[in-house]
C-alpha cells in the first residue's frame, strides 16, 4: 500500500499542474473572447483562488511521494513533530 501511496503522489502533482493550467488557459481565452468587467472579475477570482489550492495539492503529492503518509500519527505528539 505504501508503494501505491508513494507513486500516486506523482499523479497528484501532475493532476494539480494539469488542472490549474487548463483553468488558466480557459480563463485567458474567456477574458479575450468577452473582455467585459464581469468576465475579467469572475475568471480572475477563479485563477487567484485556485492557485494556492493547486500549490497545496502539489505539496500533498510531494509529501506522499516522500513517504510522509506511510504512517499516520497516532497521537498529537506525532502531529506536532
Amino acid at each position: 500500500m505504501n508503494t501505491i501511496k508513494k507513486y500516486l503522489g506523482l499523479v497528484w502533482i501532475a493532476l494539480a499542474v494539469y488542472s490549474y493550467s487548463i483553468l488558466l488557459k480557459t480563463a485567458i481565452e474567456r477574458m479575450k473572447l468577452v473582455p467585459t468587467t464581469d468576465t475579467i472579475i469572475q475568471w480572475s477570482i477563479f485563477a487567484i483562488i485556485f492557485l494556492p489550492i493547486a500549490i497545496g495539492f502539489v505539496m500533498f503529492g510531494w509529501m506522499a511521494f516522500k513517504g510522509a503518509y506511510d504512517h499516520l500519527p497516532a497521537s498529537s505528539d506525532e502531529v506536532e513533530d
Binding site: M1, L8, I49, G56, L72, P73, V79, E80
Partner: protein
C-alpha cells in the same frame, strides 16, 4: 458510562452551540436563497444572467473569505478561548445580516449599493469561517470518546436546518405581505425580502443570551491554566510538517469531496430545479423543505454509526454513491418536469392580457400570461411582456418567464430525488466534525480543523452552483454538464480518502 448530570450538561452544551451555529447558517443562506431578488435590487439590470452571476459571485465571495475567517478566528479561539471567539463571530454575523436588510437599492444610491452589500457579505463569510470550527471543537471537547460522533452530529444538522429555516422564513414572508398572493409576492420583491434579514437580529439576540451562560471548554481551560496554549496557532498549524500534512490530507481526502456533495445536494439542486426544470419558485422551495425534513435525522444516525464503525468508510460510501448517482438523478429530474412529447390539453389553455400604463412615459407594458395544462398534469405558465407605444409599434421585452407547476406525483418524485441527494450529504457530513477534531491537537485544533473545513466547503463546495452555471453557459448543448465539476472533485477525494485516510477512532482528544 456518563452520569445523568454529565448527560444534562452535554445537552446544554449541544443546544447552546447548535442554536448559534444554526442562526449563522440561516444568516448566510438567506442571501443565497434570495439571489435573484438581490440581483435585481443591487446589480445593474441590463442583463439578467450577468446580474445573477454577479450575485453568485458575491455569494462565492462570501465563501471564499471563509478560510480567512477560519485563520483569523481560529487563531483567536486557540489563544483566547472557544467561547468568546464564537460569541464574537455570532455578533459579527448578526450585525452584517441586519445591515444588508437596510442597504438602499441600486436605483437609490447607485454603485455604492452593490459595494456595501459585497463588503457586508465578506464580513458574513469571515464570521462563518470562525463559527463552525469553534462550535464543533467546543462540543467535541465536552464529549466522551465513545459518543463524539453522535454529539458532534447535532452541530452537523445545523447547516441544513439553517437552510431549512431560511427557506421557511422566506416562504412565510412572501405569502404574508398582502391579502392576495400576487400583491404579496410583488411587495416581497419590492421591499419584503428585507424582513428575513431583519429577523436575524431577534435570533442572534436570543443566541447570544444563551451562549453567554456557557463555560469555556474544559480542555482549553486546562491548557490555559497550565500555560500550554499556542503562542502562534497559524504558524504551528501550517509550518509544522507533521500538522501541515494532516491539514492537506483532511482537505483533499475528506472535506473537498464533502463540500461539493453538500452544495450539489442542497444548493445546485435548487438552482437546477428552478433554472433547468423550470419548476416554480414556491414548489422548488417546498420540495427542498420536505427533502430536508425527511433527511435531517440521518445526520444523527450516521454520526452515531461512526462511533461504532469509524468515520472514514461512511464518508467514502457517501462520496461513492454521489459519484455514481448524480447523472441518473438529474436526468430523472429533467424527465419529471419535461413537457416534450406530452400532449397539450388545448381546451384548458388560458390566455390573459393586462395592460399597465408606465407612469410619465410614452408607452404601456402589456403582460400576456398563458397557462397551459399538459396531459401528464404539469401546468405551464408563460409570462411575456411587450412594450406598446401610442403609434402602435410594439417592441418585445427581452424576458419571457416560464415556470411549471408539477402535479402531485411529479412533486413527490422530485422530493424523493432531492432526499436521496441529501442522504449522501448526511453520510459525508454527519461524521466529519468528529473526524476533523480527532486529527489535530487541542492547542491548535480550532485553527487546524477550520482551515480544511472552510477550504473544502467554502471554495470547493461554495463555488459549485457558480461553476456549474458557468459550465452550462460554456457548453450550452448539455444541461447536465454542470455536474462534471462535483463528480470530478468527489472522485479525486474518494481515491485519496480511500487510500490515505485511517478509519481509526482517536480515543484521546485531550492531547
Amino acid at each position: 458510562m456518563q452520569s445523568t448530570a454529565e448527560k444534562k450538561q452535554i445537552r446544554k452544551v449541544i443546544f447552546a452551540s447548535s442554536v448559534g451555529t444554526l442562526i449563522e447558517w440561516y444568516d448566510f443562506y438567506i442571501f443565497g436563497s434570495l439571489a435573484p431578488i438581490i440581483a435585481s435590487q443591487f446589480f445593474p439590470k441590463t442583463n439578467p444572467t450577468a446580474a445573477l452571476l454577479s450575485t453568485l459571485a458575491t455569494f462565492a465571495a462570501g465563501f471564499i473569505v471563509r478560510p480567512f475567517g477560519a485563520l483569523v478566528f481560529g487563531r483567536l479561539g486557540d489563544m483566547v478561548g472557544r467561547k468568546y471567539t464564537f460569541l464574537l463571530t455570532l455578533i459579527l454575523m448578526g450585525g452584517s445580516t441586519f445591515a444588508i436588510g437596510l442597504v438602499p437599492g441600486y436605483d437609490s444610491i447607485g454603485f455604492a449599493a452593490p459595494l456595501i452589500v459585497l463588503l457586508l457579505r465578506l464580513v458574513q463569510g469571515l464570521a462563518l469561517g470562525g463559527e463552525y470550527g469553534g462550535a464543533a471543537t467546543y462540543v467535541a471537547e465536552h464529549s466522551p470518546a465513545e459518543r463524539r460522533g453522535y454529539y458532534t452530529s447535532w452541530i452537523q444538522t445545523t447547516a441544513t436546518l439553517g437552510l431549512l429555516l431560511s427557506l421557511g422564513i422566506i416562504l412565510i414572508t412572501r405569502k404574508s405581505l398582502a391579502p392576495n398572493d400576487a400583491d404579496s409576492i410583488k411587495a416581497f420583491e419590492d421591499w419584503g425580502w428585507r424582513i428575513p434579514f431583519w429577523f436575524s437580529v431577534v435570533l442572534v439576540g436570543m443566541s447570544i443570551y444563551i451562549r453567554l451562560k456557557m463555560h469555556e471548554s474544559p480542555l482549553f481551560s486546562k491548557l490555559k491554566a497550565e500555560g500550554k496554549t499556542s503562542k502562534n496557532p497559524i504558524k504551528e498549524s501550517l509550518m509544522h510538517k507533521g500538522n501541515l500534512k494532516m491539514v492537506l490530507l483532511s482537505l483533499f481526502g475528506a472535506t473537498m469531496g464533502q463540500g461539493v456533495v453538500w452544495y450539489t445536494g442542497q444548493f445546485y439542486a435548487q438552482t437546477f430545479l428552478e433554472t433547468a426544470c423550470k419548476v416554480d419558485f414556491e414548489q422548488t422551495r417546498t420540495i427542498l423543505i420536505w427533502a430536508i425534513i425527511f433527511a435531517t435525522p440521518l445526520f444523527i444516525f450516521f454520526g452515531n454509526l461512526s462511533d461504532k464503525i469509524g468515520r472514514k468508510w461512511i464518508i467514502m460510501a457517501g462520496l461513492f454513491l454521489a459519484v455514481i448517482s448524480y447523472r441518473p438523478i438529474y436526468t430523472k429530474m429533467l424527465a419529471v418536469a419535461s413537457t416534450k412529447e406530452v400532449v397539450l390539453d388545448e381546451s384548458k389553455t388560458k390566455i390573459e392580457r393586462v395592460i399597465t400604463p408606465a407612469n410619465g412615459k410614452d408607452h404601456s407594458i402589456q403582460t400576456t400570461t398563458t397557462v397551459r395544462l399538459y396531459q401528464n398534469g404539469i401546468t405551464e405558465k408563460l409570462v411575456h411582456k411587450d412594450t406598446l407605444y401610442a403609434s402602435g409599434l410594439e417592441k418585445p421585452e427581452s424576458i419571457d418567464k416560464l415556470s411549471k407547476e408539477l402535479p402531485d406525483e411529479g412533486y413527490w418524485t422530485m422530493v424523493v430525488l432531492i432526499f436521496v441527494q441529501i442522504v449522501f450529504v448526511t453520510m459525508v457530513y454527519g461524521p466529519i466534525a468528529a473526524f476533523l477534531v480527532e486529527i489535530f491537537p487541542t492547542k491548535i485544533r480550532y485553527t487546524s480543523m477550520s482551515l480544511p473545513y472552510h477550504l473544502g466547503n467554502g471554495v470547493f463546495g461554495g463555488m459549485t452552483p457558480f461553476i456549474a452555471v458557468l459550465l452550462g453557459t460554456l457548453y450550452a448543448g448539455d444541461v447536465l454538464v454542470g455536474l462534471w465539476y462535483p463528480i470530478a472533485i468527489a472522485v479525486v477525494c474518494l481515491v485519496i480518502g480511500t487510500i490515505y485516510l485511517s478509519n481509526k477512532i482517536d480515543p484521546e482528544v485531550n492531547d
